[in-house]
Amino acid sequence: MTNPHLNQTEETIIEMKNVSKNFMLPQGQVTVLENISFKAVEGEFVAIVGPSGAGKSTLLRLMNGLLAPSVGNVLYQGKEQHGINFESAMVFQNFGLLPWLTVAQNIELGLEARTKDAALKKEKVNRYITKVGLDGYEEAYPRELSGGMKQRVGLARALAIEPSLLLMDEPFSSLDVLTSINLRNELLDIWSDRDNVVNTMIMVTHIIEEAIELADRIIILSNRPGKVVGDIKIDLPRPRQKRDKRFIEYVDRIFSLLA
């Protein structure tokens, strides 16, 4: 599979333009991200790789508008973004599920802010439950689910919003090794499904192999402050094999940029 979405348009979905982010701490101001510039075009799967504390989660929060940049601009479809971007949705490392709500209720939660139409909400919940393979789990509580099923709920909740931009913060790092293999493959299946509204995905990870396996392009962040030290296009057909010579070359290249 090559990217099923690219080459249709080259429309820029999101652009970070010379973005820096500072936080005030008791001991003074710290710069967490410095002069970050990159863009993601419609249909692209972008991975952001960097060590722990590099500011990856902060970068995602800047992209969905939960945080404002200290310097520079975040442009969404060419316009400067102010406040939360309701066309983006987020998937979290720890799933972000409410324990007292069922699977169906957790998925519906994301729709509350967008529509009051109960029938429409129900239809969307059902549609995305089916897409991620959760039929039969509607009334289960998060505590009853394996990690893999919990993250399917997180994904369905994000997809149900029908966002133009899907942001994922280390979505596989709480999962055991086999479950994460399965969910990475299913994410690619869902992404390549042309019925889906969401074409553009940005995923943060600290695992280089995971980024190479999935993404069209990888942005590499250095640590303290986070700066873009590389922006590499991954020119390999999918599915990608870790033992492939060119895969290993990409690993080495990214590793040396991070070192």
Binding site: G133, D135, G136, G148, M149, L178, T179, N182, P239
Partner: protein, 173 residues
Amino acid sequence: MKSSEGDTVPPQSLPEIGISQILGLVELLIGKEGAREDIYRLAGELSMELGETLTVIKAAEMLGLVHTPGGDVVVEAFGTKVIDASIPERKELLREKIELLPVFKKVREFLATEENHEVTREQVSEKLAELIPNEDAESSFSTLVNWGRYAELFGYNDDSQTFYLDTDEDRGE
């Protein structure tokens, strides 16, 4: 996880393994030459304990996805078919295997004979006591619920601790 010697678990017990892990195993193997791997090497590659690796393999074997000649694990044609299928189609395919497992058959039969197609968790545990040794009861129960939901063989409501048959009329809210 409890220590499980994958090969000594009696056939009716259900391994405490999620469907995602099983699918991940088959996907990993399909990427390998001949869709097979030596089990010891596989455990090493995954940094998993051998016992745990065997339990996942056993679960995949119960569903007809792999078989284990000698010390290897090999993907069956059915395994390839499942992985090639779409996410909803996978459920259909696996349902056909899950519903044939003795524990699931027994619970379905039990539900079918009850007037309102509802039974309590306790009643199910009692029924299964004949099939499953005591020490495996807890883990088997969680797999019963999870695979049963995945295959849509029955519903389980944890608030009321009841199983029910997922017929259309029962579905109405």
